[in-house]
Protein backbone atom coordinates (compact mmCIF):
# COMPACT_ATOMS: atom_id res chain seq x y z
CA UNK A 1 0.00 0.00 0.00
CA UNK A 2 1.14 3.51 -0.84
CA UNK A 3 0.15 6.40 1.40
CA UNK A 4 1.17 9.99 0.89
CA UNK A 5 0.14 13.09 2.78
CA UNK A 6 2.31 15.94 1.59
CA UNK A 7 2.51 19.70 1.51
CA UNK A 8 4.93 21.24 -0.95
CA UNK A 9 5.49 24.97 -1.32
CA UNK A 10 5.44 26.28 -4.83
CA UNK A 11 5.95 29.84 -5.96
CA UNK A 12 2.27 30.61 -6.39
CA UNK A 13 0.54 28.16 -4.01
CA UNK A 14 1.06 25.25 -1.69
CA UNK A 15 0.36 21.79 -3.03
CA UNK A 16 -1.48 19.69 -0.48
CA UNK A 17 -2.50 16.16 -1.30
CA UNK A 18 -3.40 13.13 0.70
CA UNK A 19 -3.90 9.78 -0.93
CA UNK A 20 -3.89 6.10 -0.10
CA UNK A 21 -3.50 3.52 -2.83
CA UNK A 22 -3.95 -0.14 -2.00
CA UNK A 23 -1.89 -2.88 -3.62
CA UNK A 24 -3.17 -3.37 -7.15
CA UNK A 25 -5.36 -0.27 -6.93
CA UNK A 26 -5.16 2.45 -9.57
CA UNK A 27 -5.67 6.09 -8.73
CA UNK A 28 -5.73 9.00 -11.16
CA UNK A 29 -4.77 12.55 -10.23
CA UNK A 30 -6.80 14.61 -12.64
CA UNK A 31 -6.68 18.36 -13.08
CA UNK A 32 -5.59 21.20 -15.32
CA UNK A 33 -1.94 21.84 -16.17
CA UNK A 34 -0.10 23.47 -13.27
CA UNK A 35 -2.47 22.11 -10.63
CA UNK A 36 0.38 20.44 -8.71
CA UNK A 37 -0.22 16.86 -9.81
CA UNK A 38 3.36 16.23 -10.97
CA UNK A 39 4.68 17.77 -7.75
CA UNK A 40 2.80 15.10 -5.78
CA UNK A 41 4.33 12.33 -7.91
CA UNK A 42 7.82 13.78 -7.63
CA UNK A 43 7.45 14.01 -3.87
CA UNK A 44 6.50 10.34 -3.71
CA UNK A 45 9.48 9.52 -5.96
CA UNK A 46 11.83 11.47 -3.68
CA UNK A 47 12.72 14.07 -6.30
CA UNK A 48 11.05 16.89 -4.35
CA UNK A 49 11.32 17.44 -0.62
CA UNK A 50 8.01 18.48 0.99
CA UNK A 51 7.61 21.22 3.61
CA UNK A 52 5.54 18.76 5.57
CA UNK A 53 4.65 15.24 4.77
CA UNK A 54 4.73 11.51 5.18
CA UNK A 55 5.16 8.99 2.38
CA UNK A 56 4.96 5.28 3.12
CA UNK A 57 5.20 2.37 0.75
CA UNK A 58 4.58 -1.21 1.78
CA UNK A 59 5.17 -0.33 5.44
CA UNK A 60 8.45 1.48 4.70
CA UNK A 61 8.64 5.17 5.54
CA UNK A 62 10.15 6.87 2.49
CA UNK A 63 9.68 10.48 3.50
CA UNK A 64 8.88 11.95 6.85
CA UNK A 65 9.29 15.53 7.94
CA UNK A 66 8.42 14.58 11.50
CA UNK A 67 10.90 13.62 14.17
CA UNK A 68 13.07 11.81 13.27
CA UNK A 69 13.07 13.09 9.70
CA UNK A 70 13.38 10.38 7.08
CA UNK A 71 14.45 10.86 3.50
CA UNK A 72 15.07 7.65 1.60
CA UNK A 73 16.99 8.59 -1.56
CA UNK A 74 15.27 7.91 -4.91
CA UNK A 75 17.55 4.98 -5.75
CA UNK A 76 16.43 3.10 -2.64
CA UNK A 77 12.69 3.79 -2.92
CA UNK A 78 11.79 1.11 -5.48
CA UNK A 79 9.34 3.51 -7.05
CA UNK A 80 8.97 3.53 -10.82
CA UNK A 81 8.25 6.79 -12.61
CA UNK A 82 7.13 6.91 -16.22
CA UNK A 83 6.99 10.37 -17.79
CA UNK A 84 5.79 11.72 -21.11
CA UNK A 85 9.39 11.41 -22.29
CA UNK A 86 10.00 7.69 -21.79
CA UNK A 87 13.61 8.42 -20.83
CA UNK A 88 15.26 5.51 -22.61
CA UNK A 89 19.04 5.57 -22.40
CA UNK A 90 20.03 6.44 -25.98
CA UNK A 91 23.43 4.74 -25.79
CA UNK A 92 21.98 1.36 -24.84
CA UNK A 93 19.98 -1.04 -27.05
CA UNK A 94 16.48 -2.06 -26.00
CA UNK A 95 17.71 -5.19 -24.21
CA UNK A 96 20.18 -3.22 -22.05
CA UNK A 97 17.51 -0.61 -21.33
CA UNK A 98 15.10 -3.30 -20.19
CA UNK A 99 17.71 -4.94 -17.98
CA UNK A 100 19.09 -1.66 -16.64
CA UNK A 101 17.97 -2.36 -13.07
CA UNK A 102 19.56 -5.83 -13.27
CA UNK A 103 16.88 -7.42 -11.12
CA UNK A 104 15.32 -9.63 -13.78
CA UNK A 105 16.19 -13.06 -15.10
CA UNK A 106 16.37 -13.79 -18.81
CA UNK A 107 13.11 -15.74 -18.78
CA UNK A 108 11.27 -12.82 -17.24
CA UNK A 109 12.73 -10.49 -19.85
CA UNK A 110 11.38 -12.71 -22.60
CA UNK A 111 7.94 -12.91 -20.97
CA UNK A 112 7.60 -9.15 -20.44
CA UNK A 113 8.96 -8.37 -23.91
CA UNK A 114 6.41 -10.73 -25.43
CA UNK A 115 3.57 -9.25 -23.34
CA UNK A 116 4.52 -5.76 -24.49
CA UNK A 117 5.06 -6.78 -28.09
CA UNK A 118 8.69 -5.70 -28.16
CA UNK A 119 10.39 -9.09 -28.25
CA UNK A 120 11.74 -8.49 -31.74
CA UNK A 121 13.16 -5.10 -30.83
CA UNK A 122 15.69 -6.24 -28.21
CA UNK A 123 18.85 -5.48 -30.27
CA UNK A 124 17.49 -2.19 -31.65
CA UNK A 125 18.75 1.22 -30.48
CA UNK A 126 16.08 3.55 -28.98
CA UNK A 127 16.54 6.10 -31.78
CA UNK A 128 15.02 3.60 -34.22
CA UNK A 129 11.82 3.07 -32.19
CA UNK A 130 8.45 4.71 -32.73
CA UNK A 131 6.80 6.71 -29.92
CA UNK A 132 4.57 3.80 -28.89
CA UNK A 133 7.47 1.32 -28.91
CA UNK A 134 9.55 3.62 -26.73
CA UNK A 135 6.81 3.80 -24.15
CA UNK A 136 6.41 0.04 -24.21
CA UNK A 137 10.15 -0.38 -23.57
CA UNK A 138 10.07 2.18 -20.76
CA UNK A 139 7.12 0.38 -19.20
CA UNK A 140 8.88 -2.97 -19.54
CA UNK A 141 11.96 -1.51 -17.87
CA UNK A 142 9.89 -0.45 -14.86
CA UNK A 143 8.18 -3.83 -14.64
CA UNK A 144 11.50 -5.66 -14.82
CA UNK A 145 12.88 -3.40 -12.09
CA UNK A 146 10.22 -4.86 -9.79
CA UNK A 147 9.10 -1.48 -8.51
CA UNK A 148 6.81 -1.48 -5.48
CA UNK A 149 4.77 1.42 -6.91
CA UNK A 150 4.12 2.75 -10.37
CA UNK A 151 3.90 6.50 -10.94
CA UNK A 152 2.72 7.60 -14.38
CA UNK A 153 3.10 11.27 -15.25
CA UNK A 154 1.00 11.78 -18.38
CA UNK A 155 3.11 9.07 -20.01
CA UNK A 156 1.13 8.71 -23.21
CA UNK A 157 0.01 12.31 -23.72
CA UNK A 158 2.02 12.74 -26.91
CA UNK A 159 0.60 9.63 -28.59
CA UNK A 160 -2.50 9.37 -30.75
CA UNK A 161 -5.72 8.40 -29.00
CA UNK A 162 -5.89 4.79 -30.18
CA UNK A 163 -2.34 4.04 -29.08
CA UNK A 164 -2.85 5.97 -25.86
CA UNK A 165 -5.92 3.93 -25.00
CA UNK A 166 -4.19 0.64 -25.85
CA UNK A 167 -1.18 1.46 -23.66
CA UNK A 168 -3.39 2.70 -20.82
CA UNK A 169 -5.30 -0.58 -20.81
CA UNK A 170 -1.99 -2.48 -20.95
CA UNK A 171 -0.62 -0.64 -17.92
CA UNK A 172 -3.91 -1.13 -16.13
CA UNK A 173 -3.85 -4.87 -16.68
CA UNK A 174 -0.17 -5.24 -15.78
CA UNK A 175 -0.39 -3.19 -12.58
CA UNK A 176 -3.44 -5.17 -11.45
CA UNK A 177 -1.77 -8.47 -12.29
CA UNK A 178 1.32 -7.52 -10.30
CA UNK A 179 -0.62 -6.02 -7.39
CA UNK A 180 1.31 -2.77 -7.62
CA UNK A 181 -0.27 0.48 -6.41
CA UNK A 182 -0.36 2.85 -9.37
CA UNK A 183 -0.92 6.59 -9.64
CA UNK A 184 -1.63 8.23 -12.98
CA UNK A 185 -1.36 11.97 -13.48
CA UNK A 186 -3.36 13.29 -16.40
CA UNK A 187 -5.34 16.23 -17.63
CA UNK A 188 -7.36 14.01 -19.97
CA UNK A 189 -10.51 12.83 -18.20
CA UNK A 190 -10.98 9.94 -20.63
CA UNK A 191 -7.50 8.60 -19.77
CA UNK A 192 -8.22 8.87 -16.06
CA UNK A 193 -11.55 7.08 -16.46
CA UNK A 194 -10.01 4.33 -18.59
CA UNK A 195 -7.26 3.71 -16.04
CA UNK A 196 -8.39 4.41 -12.54
CA UNK A 197 -10.49 2.79 -9.84
CA UNK A 198 -10.49 6.14 -8.07
CA UNK A 199 -10.20 9.70 -9.26
CA UNK A 200 -8.75 12.66 -7.37
CA UNK A 201 -9.56 16.04 -8.89
CA UNK A 202 -6.86 18.63 -8.21
CA UNK A 203 -6.80 22.35 -8.80
CA UNK A 204 -4.43 25.04 -7.51
CA UNK A 205 -2.60 22.49 -5.37
CA UNK A 206 -5.66 21.13 -3.57
CA UNK A 207 -7.67 17.95 -3.95
CA UNK A 208 -11.21 19.13 -4.62
CA UNK A 209 -12.89 15.76 -4.78
CA UNK A 210 -12.04 12.07 -4.59
CA UNK A 211 -14.22 9.19 -5.61
CA UNK A 212 -15.10 6.66 -8.24
CA UNK A 213 -14.66 8.15 -11.74
CA UNK A 214 -18.38 7.94 -12.63
CA UNK A 215 -19.39 9.36 -9.27
CA UNK A 216 -17.08 12.35 -9.69
CA UNK A 217 -18.39 13.06 -13.18
CA UNK A 218 -22.09 12.61 -12.35
CA UNK A 219 -21.97 14.31 -8.96
CA UNK A 220 -19.14 16.84 -8.96
CA UNK A 221 -18.66 18.22 -5.46
CA UNK A 222 -18.57 21.81 -6.65
CA UNK A 223 -19.11 23.96 -9.68
CA UNK A 224 -15.32 24.16 -10.16
CA UNK A 225 -15.04 20.37 -10.22
CA UNK A 226 -17.92 20.28 -12.69
CA UNK A 227 -16.04 22.67 -14.97
CA UNK A 228 -12.91 20.54 -14.71
CA UNK A 229 -14.68 17.26 -15.52
CA UNK A 230 -16.30 18.65 -18.64
CA UNK A 231 -19.52 20.47 -17.77
CA UNK A 232 -19.88 23.10 -20.48
CA UNK A 233 -22.52 25.38 -19.04
CA UNK A 234 -24.85 26.05 -16.18
CA UNK A 235 -28.51 26.95 -16.38
CA UNK A 236 -30.81 28.34 -13.66
CA UNK A 237 -32.73 25.59 -11.91
CA UNK A 238 -34.90 24.81 -8.90
CA UNK A 239 -33.51 22.94 -5.94
CA UNK A 240 -36.54 20.69 -5.65
CA UNK A 241 -34.61 17.48 -5.47
CA UNK A 242 -33.11 15.56 -8.27
CA UNK A 243 -32.95 18.39 -10.75
CA UNK A 244 -36.15 17.38 -12.46
CA UNK A 245 -38.60 19.80 -14.04
CA UNK A 246 -37.83 22.65 -16.38
CA UNK A 247 -35.83 25.81 -16.41
CA UNK A 248 -35.11 28.83 -18.50
CA UNK A 249 -36.70 30.23 -21.60
CA UNK A 250 -35.20 31.40 -24.83
CA UNK A 251 -36.33 34.98 -24.49
CA UNK A 252 -35.07 35.30 -20.96
CA UNK A 253 -38.61 35.68 -19.70
CA UNK A 254 -37.96 33.60 -16.62
CA UNK A 255 -38.53 30.00 -15.71
CA UNK A 256 -41.31 27.90 -17.00
CA UNK A 257 -42.69 24.54 -16.00
CA UNK A 258 -43.27 22.74 -12.78
CA UNK A 259 -40.28 24.04 -10.84
CA UNK A 260 -39.21 27.66 -11.20
CA UNK A 261 -35.54 28.52 -10.74
CA UNK A 262 -34.35 29.39 -7.24
CA UNK A 263 -32.16 32.47 -6.96
CA UNK A 264 -28.59 31.53 -7.84
CA UNK A 265 -29.18 27.76 -8.06
CA UNK A 266 -27.83 26.31 -11.28
CA UNK A 267 -27.84 22.93 -12.95
CA UNK A 268 -24.65 21.70 -14.57
CA UNK A 269 -24.85 20.77 -18.24
CA UNK A 270 -22.58 17.98 -19.31
CA UNK A 271 -22.70 17.81 -23.10
CA UNK A 272 -22.94 14.02 -23.05
CA UNK A 273 -25.79 14.01 -20.52
CA UNK A 274 -28.30 15.76 -22.72
CA UNK A 275 -31.25 14.16 -24.49
CA UNK A 276 -33.15 15.86 -27.30
CA UNK A 277 -36.79 16.69 -26.53
CA UNK A 278 -38.65 17.47 -23.32
CA UNK A 279 -39.04 14.64 -20.82
CA UNK A 280 -39.43 16.10 -17.30
CA UNK A 281 -39.52 12.61 -15.82
CA UNK A 282 -35.87 12.05 -16.77
CA UNK A 283 -34.33 15.37 -15.83
CA UNK A 284 -34.42 19.08 -16.28
CA UNK A 285 -36.04 20.38 -19.44
CA UNK A 286 -34.40 23.42 -20.98
CA UNK A 287 -35.62 25.30 -24.00
CA UNK A 288 -33.09 27.41 -25.83
CA UNK A 289 -32.20 29.03 -29.08
CA UNK A 290 -29.55 27.41 -31.20
CA UNK A 291 -26.60 29.78 -31.56
CA UNK A 292 -24.34 27.40 -33.43
CA UNK A 293 -24.21 23.77 -34.47
CA UNK A 294 -21.31 21.76 -35.82
CA UNK A 295 -20.59 18.08 -36.52
CA UNK A 296 -18.97 16.27 -33.59
CA UNK A 297 -18.02 12.61 -33.86
CA UNK A 298 -21.06 10.69 -35.06
CA UNK A 299 -23.49 13.44 -33.99
CA UNK A 300 -23.75 17.20 -33.61
CA UNK A 301 -22.55 19.70 -31.07
CA UNK A 302 -24.82 22.68 -30.49
CA UNK A 303 -24.41 25.91 -28.54
CA UNK A 304 -27.74 26.82 -26.94
CA UNK A 305 -28.80 29.98 -25.15
CA UNK A 306 -31.50 29.92 -22.53
CA UNK A 307 -32.11 33.31 -20.94
CA UNK A 308 -28.76 34.62 -19.78
CA UNK A 309 -27.22 31.16 -19.70
CA UNK A 310 -25.52 29.47 -22.57
CA UNK A 311 -24.28 25.90 -22.77
CA UNK A 312 -23.00 23.31 -25.19
CA UNK A 313 -24.52 19.91 -25.70
CA UNK A 314 -24.12 16.97 -28.04
CA UNK A 315 -27.15 15.74 -29.93
CA UNK A 316 -27.59 12.73 -32.19
CA UNK A 317 -28.99 14.87 -35.04
CA UNK A 318 -28.58 18.39 -36.32
CA UNK A 319 -31.11 20.71 -34.55
CA UNK A 320 -33.92 21.19 -37.07
CA UNK A 321 -35.22 24.53 -35.74
CA UNK A 322 -33.84 27.66 -34.11
CA UNK A 323 -35.66 26.85 -30.88
CA UNK A 324 -35.14 23.44 -29.30
CA UNK A 325 -35.98 21.72 -26.05
CA UNK A 326 -33.54 19.34 -24.46
CA UNK A 327 -33.59 17.31 -21.28
CA UNK A 328 -30.56 17.43 -18.98
CA UNK A 329 -30.38 13.91 -17.61
CA UNK A 330 -30.38 14.03 -13.81
CA UNK A 331 -28.11 17.11 -13.66
CA UNK A 332 -26.21 18.09 -10.52
CA UNK A 333 -27.50 21.29 -8.89
CA UNK A 334 -25.18 23.85 -7.39
CA UNK A 335 -25.90 26.47 -4.73
CA UNK A 336 -24.86 30.09 -5.30
CA UNK A 337 -21.61 29.42 -3.41
CA UNK A 338 -20.75 26.74 -5.98
CA UNK A 339 -21.28 23.74 -3.73
CA UNK A 340 -23.32 20.71 -4.75
CA UNK A 341 -26.85 20.79 -3.34
CA UNK A 342 -27.19 17.57 -1.32
CA UNK A 343 -30.83 17.13 -2.26
CA UNK A 344 -29.64 16.36 -5.72
CA UNK A 345 -27.33 13.66 -4.43
CA UNK A 346 -27.91 10.07 -5.34
CA UNK A 347 -26.05 8.94 -8.35
CA UNK A 348 -28.09 7.96 -11.34
CA UNK A 349 -26.57 5.43 -13.68
CA UNK A 350 -25.37 6.75 -17.01
CA UNK A 351 -28.16 6.79 -19.58
Amino acid sequence: MLTADVEVDRRDFTVHASLTVAAGERVALFGPSGAGKTTVLETIAGLVWPRRGLVELGGRVLTSTGSPAVEVPPWQRRVGLLRQDPGLFPHLPVRANLLYARSAAGAELATIARQLGIDELLPVMPARLSGGQRHRVALGRLLLAHCDALLLDEPFASLDETLRRALTVLVKDLSSERKVPSVLVTHQLSDAQAFADRLLVMDQGSVLQAGAPDEVVLRPASRRVAELVGYLGFVPAAADGGGHGSAGSPAGSGAAGSAGPDAGVVAGVHPDRVMPGADPSRGLVVTGTVEAARPSGAGWEADLRSGDASFTCRLPDRPDSALVSVTLLDPPLFAPDGSLIPAAAGVSPPA
Partner: protein
Protein backbone atom coordinates in the same frame (compact mmCIF):
# COMPACT_ATOMS: atom_id res chain seq x y z
CA UNK B 1 49.85 20.85 -44.12
CA UNK B 2 50.21 20.90 -47.92
CA UNK B 3 52.33 24.05 -47.72
CA UNK B 4 54.54 22.44 -45.11
CA UNK B 5 55.02 19.27 -47.14
CA UNK B 6 55.79 21.12 -50.35
CA UNK B 7 58.48 23.20 -48.66
CA UNK B 8 60.19 20.38 -46.82
CA UNK B 9 63.43 18.92 -48.02
CA UNK B 10 63.35 15.24 -47.04
CA UNK B 11 67.13 15.05 -46.81
CA UNK B 12 67.28 17.97 -44.40
CA UNK B 13 64.35 16.55 -42.47
CA UNK B 14 66.13 13.24 -42.00
CA UNK B 15 69.38 14.83 -40.91
CA UNK B 16 67.58 17.25 -38.57
CA UNK B 17 65.63 14.53 -36.85
CA UNK B 18 68.52 12.09 -36.54
CA UNK B 19 70.94 14.61 -35.05
CA UNK B 20 72.13 13.86 -31.50
CA UNK B 21 69.56 15.00 -28.94
CA UNK B 22 67.28 16.49 -31.56
CA UNK B 23 64.33 14.35 -30.54
CA UNK B 24 64.69 15.15 -26.82
CA UNK B 25 62.24 18.10 -27.09
CA UNK B 26 59.72 15.69 -28.62
CA UNK B 27 60.00 13.41 -25.60
CA UNK B 28 59.69 16.41 -23.26
CA UNK B 29 56.61 17.63 -25.13
CA UNK B 30 54.95 14.21 -25.11
CA UNK B 31 55.67 13.71 -21.41
CA UNK B 32 54.46 17.19 -20.43
CA UNK B 33 51.41 16.85 -22.70
CA UNK B 34 50.57 13.48 -21.15
CA UNK B 35 50.83 14.82 -17.61
CA UNK B 36 48.75 17.84 -18.63
CA UNK B 37 45.99 15.60 -20.00
CA UNK B 38 46.02 13.58 -16.79
CA UNK B 39 45.64 16.76 -14.73
CA UNK B 40 42.83 17.98 -16.96
CA UNK B 41 40.96 14.67 -16.73
CA UNK B 42 41.37 14.30 -12.97
CA UNK B 43 40.84 17.91 -11.90
CA UNK B 44 38.91 19.63 -14.65
CA UNK B 45 36.37 16.87 -15.43
CA UNK B 46 34.69 17.10 -12.00
CA UNK B 47 34.94 20.89 -12.20
CA UNK B 48 33.18 20.85 -15.59
CA UNK B 49 30.46 18.55 -14.29
CA UNK B 50 29.88 20.80 -11.27
CA UNK B 51 29.69 23.84 -13.53
CA UNK B 52 27.25 22.10 -15.87
CA UNK B 53 25.01 21.00 -13.00
CA UNK B 54 25.22 24.29 -11.10
CA UNK B 55 26.90 22.65 -8.12
CA UNK B 56 29.53 25.38 -7.66
CA UNK B 57 28.94 28.58 -5.72
CA UNK B 58 29.26 31.75 -7.82
CA UNK B 59 29.16 29.93 -11.17
CA UNK B 60 29.38 33.17 -13.15
CA UNK B 61 32.64 34.00 -11.41
CA UNK B 62 34.10 30.63 -12.39
CA UNK B 63 33.01 31.08 -15.96
CA UNK B 64 34.44 34.60 -16.05
CA UNK B 65 37.75 33.23 -14.73
CA UNK B 66 37.81 30.58 -17.44
CA UNK B 67 36.97 33.08 -20.15
CA UNK B 68 39.70 35.44 -18.90
CA UNK B 69 42.34 32.74 -19.17
CA UNK B 70 40.95 31.83 -22.59
CA UNK B 71 41.07 35.39 -23.86
CA UNK B 72 44.34 36.49 -22.29
CA UNK B 73 47.31 36.32 -24.67
CA UNK B 74 49.44 33.29 -23.68
CA UNK B 75 52.44 35.56 -23.23
CA UNK B 76 50.54 37.51 -20.58
CA UNK B 77 49.53 34.23 -18.89
CA UNK B 78 53.25 33.42 -18.69
CA UNK B 79 54.04 36.77 -17.10
CA UNK B 80 51.22 36.35 -14.57
CA UNK B 81 52.32 32.79 -13.78
CA UNK B 82 55.71 34.16 -12.75
CA UNK B 83 53.92 36.26 -10.14
CA UNK B 84 51.76 33.31 -9.09
CA UNK B 85 54.19 30.42 -8.84
CA UNK B 86 57.59 32.07 -9.13
CA UNK B 87 60.25 31.36 -6.46
CA UNK B 88 59.45 34.50 -4.44
CA UNK B 89 55.70 33.88 -4.19
CA UNK B 90 53.90 31.94 -1.41
CA UNK B 91 53.29 29.04 -3.80
CA UNK B 92 56.95 29.19 -4.83
CA UNK B 93 57.97 28.96 -1.15
CA UNK B 94 55.76 25.92 -0.61
CA UNK B 95 57.23 24.29 -3.72
CA UNK B 96 60.70 25.16 -2.40
CA UNK B 97 60.01 23.26 0.82
CA UNK B 98 59.10 20.30 -1.36
CA UNK B 99 62.37 20.76 -3.28
CA UNK B 100 60.42 21.76 -6.35
CA UNK B 101 60.67 24.83 -8.55
CA UNK B 102 58.01 26.20 -10.89
CA UNK B 103 60.32 28.13 -13.17
CA UNK B 104 62.42 26.56 -15.93
CA UNK B 105 61.58 23.02 -14.88
CA UNK B 106 59.40 20.20 -16.18
CA UNK B 107 56.86 21.19 -13.51
CA UNK B 108 56.82 24.74 -14.87
CA UNK B 109 56.23 23.39 -18.39
CA UNK B 110 53.26 21.34 -17.15
CA UNK B 111 51.84 24.33 -15.23
CA UNK B 112 52.09 26.53 -18.32
CA UNK B 113 50.48 23.89 -20.53
CA UNK B 114 47.67 23.30 -18.01
CA UNK B 115 46.95 27.04 -17.86
CA UNK B 116 46.88 27.37 -21.61
CA UNK B 117 44.73 24.31 -22.28
CA UNK B 118 42.41 24.05 -19.26
CA UNK B 119 39.84 26.65 -20.39
CA UNK B 120 39.40 24.83 -23.71
CA UNK B 121 38.82 21.53 -21.94
CA UNK B 122 36.59 22.86 -19.15
CA UNK B 123 34.29 24.83 -21.46
CA UNK B 124 34.02 21.91 -23.91
CA UNK B 125 33.44 19.37 -21.15
CA UNK B 126 30.91 21.64 -19.45
CA UNK B 127 28.92 21.80 -22.69
CA UNK B 128 29.16 18.01 -23.06
CA UNK B 129 27.80 17.42 -19.55
CA UNK B 130 25.11 20.08 -19.93
CA UNK B 131 23.85 18.28 -23.04
CA UNK B 132 23.06 15.16 -20.98
CA UNK B 133 19.36 15.20 -20.08
CA UNK B 134 19.05 15.32 -16.28
CA UNK B 135 15.80 13.36 -16.52
CA UNK B 136 17.83 10.39 -17.77
CA UNK B 137 20.00 10.66 -14.66
CA UNK B 138 16.87 10.86 -12.50
CA UNK B 139 15.45 7.82 -14.27
CA UNK B 140 18.66 5.85 -13.65
CA UNK B 141 18.45 6.85 -9.98
CA UNK B 142 14.85 5.69 -9.73
CA UNK B 143 15.92 2.38 -11.29
CA UNK B 144 18.23 1.85 -8.34
CA UNK B 145 21.54 3.45 -9.25
CA UNK B 146 23.22 5.70 -6.66
CA UNK B 147 24.73 8.95 -8.05
CA UNK B 148 28.23 7.60 -8.73
CA UNK B 149 26.88 4.65 -10.66
CA UNK B 150 24.54 6.98 -12.57
CA UNK B 151 27.60 9.04 -13.52
CA UNK B 152 29.47 5.94 -14.69
CA UNK B 153 26.58 4.24 -16.53
CA UNK B 154 24.66 7.21 -17.95
CA UNK B 155 26.32 10.62 -17.65
CA UNK B 156 29.82 9.65 -18.70
CA UNK B 157 28.88 7.47 -21.71
CA UNK B 158 26.50 10.16 -23.01
CA UNK B 159 29.01 12.97 -22.49
CA UNK B 160 31.98 10.93 -23.72
CA UNK B 161 31.99 12.06 -27.38
CA UNK B 162 31.93 15.71 -26.27
CA UNK B 163 34.56 15.06 -23.62
CA UNK B 164 36.81 13.38 -26.18
CA UNK B 165 36.56 16.36 -28.51
CA UNK B 166 37.26 18.77 -25.66
CA UNK B 167 40.27 16.70 -24.63
CA UNK B 168 41.55 16.62 -28.20
CA UNK B 169 41.37 20.39 -28.46
CA UNK B 170 43.11 20.74 -25.10
CA UNK B 171 45.83 18.32 -26.23
CA UNK B 172 46.49 20.30 -29.40
CA UNK B 173 46.61 23.46 -27.32
CA UNK B 174 48.95 21.92 -24.71
CA UNK B 175 51.39 20.31 -27.12
CA UNK B 176 51.68 23.55 -29.08
CA UNK B 177 51.83 25.86 -26.02
CA UNK B 178 54.44 28.54 -26.57
CA UNK B 179 53.56 31.95 -25.13
CA UNK B 180 53.38 31.04 -21.46
CA UNK B 181 56.06 28.38 -21.86
CA UNK B 182 58.66 30.77 -23.26
CA UNK B 183 58.29 32.97 -20.16
CA UNK B 184 58.12 30.42 -17.36
CA UNK B 185 59.57 27.18 -18.75
CA UNK B 186 62.32 27.91 -21.27
CA UNK B 187 64.19 24.85 -20.09
CA UNK B 188 63.75 21.97 -20.60
CA UNK B 189 62.20 22.99 -23.88
CA UNK B 190 59.65 21.07 -25.89
CA UNK B 191 58.96 21.04 -29.63
CA UNK B 192 57.46 24.56 -29.96
CA UNK B 193 60.52 26.13 -28.32
CA UNK B 194 62.80 24.00 -30.43
CA UNK B 195 61.09 25.31 -33.56
CA UNK B 196 61.54 28.86 -32.28
CA UNK B 197 65.18 28.38 -31.30
CA UNK B 198 66.04 26.60 -34.57
CA UNK B 199 64.34 29.37 -36.52
CA UNK B 200 66.35 31.99 -34.65
CA UNK B 201 69.67 30.19 -34.93
CA UNK B 202 69.65 28.45 -38.33
CA UNK B 203 66.68 29.74 -40.30
CA UNK B 204 63.31 28.70 -41.63
CA UNK B 205 64.38 25.61 -43.59
CA UNK B 206 65.92 24.00 -40.49
CA UNK B 207 62.82 24.73 -38.38
CA UNK B 208 60.36 23.13 -40.81
CA UNK B 209 61.19 19.47 -39.95
CA UNK B 210 60.34 20.17 -36.31
CA UNK B 211 57.10 21.83 -37.36
CA UNK B 212 56.26 18.59 -39.17
CA UNK B 213 57.04 16.63 -36.01
CA UNK B 214 54.75 18.90 -34.00
CA UNK B 215 51.91 18.33 -36.45
CA UNK B 216 52.44 14.58 -36.55
CA UNK B 217 52.38 14.44 -32.76
CA UNK B 218 49.49 16.85 -32.25
CA UNK B 219 47.06 15.63 -34.91
CA UNK B 220 46.41 11.91 -34.22
CA UNK B 221 44.52 12.43 -30.95
CA UNK B 222 42.06 15.01 -32.35
CA UNK B 223 41.57 12.87 -35.45
CA UNK B 224 40.96 9.76 -33.35
CA UNK B 225 38.55 11.70 -31.11
CA UNK B 226 36.63 12.92 -34.14
CA UNK B 227 36.36 9.46 -35.67
CA UNK B 228 35.34 7.89 -32.36
CA UNK B 229 32.72 10.59 -31.67
CA UNK B 230 31.24 10.15 -35.13
CA UNK B 231 31.14 6.39 -34.66
CA UNK B 232 29.47 6.71 -31.23
CA UNK B 233 26.88 9.02 -32.75
CA UNK B 234 26.20 6.59 -35.59
CA UNK B 235 25.85 3.71 -33.15
CA UNK B 236 23.34 5.68 -31.09
CA UNK B 237 21.29 6.39 -34.17
CA UNK B 238 21.24 2.65 -34.81
Amino acid sequence: MITLLTHLSWGETLSALTGPGNLDPLIVSLAAGGVTLAVLILVCTPLSWMLARGRLPLPRLWEAGLLCSLLLPPLVIGLLLVFMVGPYTPIGHVLGWLHQDATNTFLALVIAEVYESAPYYVLGAQAAFAAVDTQLEQQAGLLGDPPRRVFRRVTLPLAAPGLAMALAVAWARAIGAFGAVVIIAYHPFGIPLQIFVTLQETGLASALPFALVLLVVALPLPMAAYVWSARADRRRRG
